[in-house]
Amino acid sequence: MNRILCILLILLLILPLQGCKFKDIDLKLFVMAVGIDEAENNPNKLSVTLKIAIPQGDPKKAEEQVQIITEEGDTIAEIVRVMKSRIDKELDFGHCKAVLFGEKYARKNIREAADWTMRRRDIQLTIYTAVARPSAKEVLNVQPVTERIPANSILLALSKDGTESPFIVPPAFAYVLQRRIDERGADPILALVEKKSDQEFLINKSYLFDKSKAVTELEPEETRIYNLLSLKNLKTSLNVDYQGLKYAYNIEKSSAKYKIITPTNGTPYIEYKIKILAEVEESHSGDIFNEKLLRDLSAAAGNQLNERVERTLSKIHQAKCDPLGWGLRYQSRHWNNSEEWKEWEDLSERLEFHVKCDVDIKYTGMVR
């Protein structure tokens, strides 16, 4: 008897530990994506757009219904509270998958928005962040015809669970964004989602950030080179001109390594070594491939890629951004904690890039 009383008492005592309140799922509204913009008329105010999924009872129909609401105010928290009185059910950010920053807002400062996503307890740290053009609100209003779950298409594209485009930068989860904002020696880089029409968006560019401020836009080609440098085995094809004819090769394996070299006298430079194993995917010549042709093609491809990579690197360097984390690498390889950051700042001004691309086109593709 005593034991039963003890158990009941313990159950009673841990009642406040449950964390959440009992609220049935049908009394909640799931926010799928949040868009944060600068208010249209007042640059000091924020405008928040929520894309809310309306659940469908019949799974066979698979037609998505969303509600999009926009509200303006001083802080995001305040705006969300105001929004609560415009809807009938409780807002739940547990399934929120993406936070989009409007381009104008991103160019100013995203610090407070990043802070809000980190602090709010029901937003997961693994949500995707991206910059939206022309504004987050308009991008959220895009309804792709292939979309079955509200806001799912942006999520699928950004996460690379769906499409595996080489023009989309690796996912910037909320925690990655926050870490890169805080960390000395690494800067955020976010994908840029553009609205093409009411039913289509385009993600093939990216935005370089100087900490929490968007600075420079990377063109599709540069975004792809960035991906090649930061990811292993990037799935893409590249073009090469050889003797006036076009060839395209598909990357099977790729890896990029770099070293920061500081000669005692002379300019410091970063040496990039890129190794690519590839196969021919398209040839405009009609010739039969032999080993010599493949070798020559590889050499030409290596040279041309060298140039492209160097161009991209110098653009990133000129923007004074560090999305590849060179500064962090430099600090990790040096011991003098008190001066190394100063040294790096000083050194990064004069940085040069030496790129060595080793492209090995090994296979001719299928021959049949």
């Binding site: 799922i25 049908d26 799931f30 799928m32 999924a53 659940p55 029901d122 997961q124």
Partner: protein, 459 residues
Amino acid sequence: MRGSQHKKESDNLLQCIGEKLSKSTDLEQRSLGTSDQQVNLIYLKSVSHSATVNRFVISPFFEMKDEKGFEEYIASFPGSKPSHDIKEILELLLGGHVGIFFSDNKVYLFDAVRVEAGSVADAQTEVIVQGPSDSFNESLEVNLNLIRRRYQSSDLKAETTTIGHKSKTKIAIVYDETRIEPEVLKELKKRLDGISVDILQAAAELDKYLSGNKYRLFPTTIVTERPDRAVFNISEGKIVLLVDTTGFAVVLPAVFNDFFTAMDDKLQVLPVGWFLKGIRYLGLILTVLLPSFYVAFTSYNPEVWKVQIALLVAGSRATVPYPSYVEVLIMLLMMEFLTEASLRLPKAIGPTATTVGGLILGTAATEAGLVSNIMIILVSAVAISNFVIPLNMMGFTIRVVKYPFILLATLFGLLGIVLGLVGVIMYLCSLRSFGKPYFKIFGIDRVRITNSQKERENG
């Protein structure tokens, strides 16, 4: 002088065998004839056919009046065999032969094997795909026969006692003397002595009286109707209680894992056996946790689900007028009613109940918007995975265990489920089956004991 010496040798043999087979109540030992013409019979009643013995051994002896002639008569029987090797004699006795000891020191083994075929029915509650399908019936003799035929060793002991002031139910304690742990036997005898009831009619009842704690949740002894399971457990060093007039045997001590072993696991290829066992444990986890997970996820932590499922559940719950735990309880109770009803109904009406209950009620309830579609799937999954458990005793327990989990999930959400799991595991660990730890999933030291045992026997 010589004659008396012979006589002594033969008597020694008889005495020795008698000792070997002592403590077996089915042992029958008889002396025939007068003092100068004495023939001794020894056999096991349970495996030898008494009518055969009477007709072909005892009656002719008195008809002939001449021991020499009788000896020739016995020797001429097909299947009769002279022997002096005590080991061989023992083996044949255990196999159902009758040992006939003549006064001139000859020993014959007369074939009187008893075969019970008609009265032994197929197993009903523990059906398996391959392997023997016979089951214990209501006769203690037959049940002993079923076990002896499968376990022909002199180490097998069968002691009887009676329980019940009025019913005087005979109970046979069957065990392998060399393999059991004496403390368990001692504990069992102590507890059997302590039982004071008027009537004992089922093996499961005995199980209830044996395990001291009335409020325990899990069965600590196996109740089985399969002789092969009983024999297998005897060889593992366990004790089998055969209860006369029940058709079921009680095996003890039991560990948790025993309840998830079907007898045809042994017959399967090893990876298949592992797979089947894995499926049973998966079924256990599903049937206990699915309903409570549903409550916790719909009402506390919807973010655990994938978006698709969250929206689907939210959509299908839109018309449901009461909170998730009421929905779960209603459907689970309906399922329990259905199981209970189809269990007790005559075989002819059974399918009707299942159709009406399962198909019509389920579909109608969803269409009327009283329960969500997901709920129907969930309840069926719970019901089916409950039936995966091979032994019914455990199956019934598991049916009950899921309700406290629902309560905990309703009060505390996911935290409650974790709490419940910790509690159940602690409770299982605290259970003892006749002094042996109950929640010993892999039974490692049991295997070690039997291996060393086997070595000792072979060497």
